[in-house]
Point group: C2
Chain length 152, copies 2
Amino acid sequence: MVDTVKVGHEWFWERLDQYLAKSQLKHSKQRNFIIEEFLQMKTHVSAEELYSQLKTMDHNPGLATVYRTLNLLKDAALVDQKQFSDGKSVFEVMEPGSHHDHLICLTCHKVIEFENEEIERLQEQVAKKLGFKLTKHSLELFGHCSDCVKTL
Amino acid sequence: MVDTVKVGHEWFWERLDQYLAKSQLKHSKQRNFIIEEFLQMKTHVSAEELYSQLKTMDHNPGLATVYRTLNLLKDAALVDQKQFSDGKSVFEVMEPGSHHDHLICLTCHKVIEFENEEIERLQEQVAKKLGFKLTKHSLELFGHCSDCVKTL
DNA sequence: TTGAATGCAAAGTTTTTGCAAAAGC
DNA sequence: GCTTTTGCAAAAACTTTGCATTCAA
């Protein structure tokens, strides 16, 4: 059981509990610390960033453990892993029933999330026409944000 | 100068010539062989695949040279590099004025290209609303193709 | 002849794995 | 007590780099 603060992410911990139980896996201190910190950091966190952040705190899990934990969450379908084209991949919480895409500033690397139902609908349409059964998609728009476009 | 077959890709070689001239770079036998083979292979080729293919022929460029050549084409904006989430990245020819997105089968890893102007238009709209000046985008739909969906 | 391209091996990055020790249940 | 998790270091997988040699113009 988890005995630490987890406000706002109850659903996350609940689904994790379910997944661990179903898979006959265990909770652990490190796991919980890593996940707690992950949930509190900005979205789109790389394994390395999460690891560094944890090192500034009392906890010093190995980098391998951070990777293993993130992979566990991925298996549990609780996080999504993305390749924002910069080599290392980032993770983000997958909230049930919600989906968003990303606008990425090529200058300051800021990431803005957006949702557009019309685009989603058209994607389904395209997939259907080509006989695909969609399970997920990934849409990234690259450009320059309003702040950075001035400095060009 | 290039003195080998290059049917259907004249624009590609022309733009390459321009780029090399502008950047004061040179042509070379290896470069030309690599590019020729790249242009004749299926789209979405990884460096490793291209390297293996070349080895089955008379030419044995080093893997590093294949990477260097693909990076050159990327700098020349003649190819696009994509991370299809499977670790290694693939390259594809960027035809001027054309753009397409991808449907990827999670079972057989087949990649199907599609174009949808309506989606492109909506992307522009979203970007504009959020103050972004778009330079490119990447849309991937993941699912199961009509062949594979039967076997599930 | 001079700068660029190549090949090879070594190094770099990001991520995974093996194994003995520690922890969870 | 039996199984999973951890930490560390080693290995993997993909890509880039250094350097001496070869090649292009």
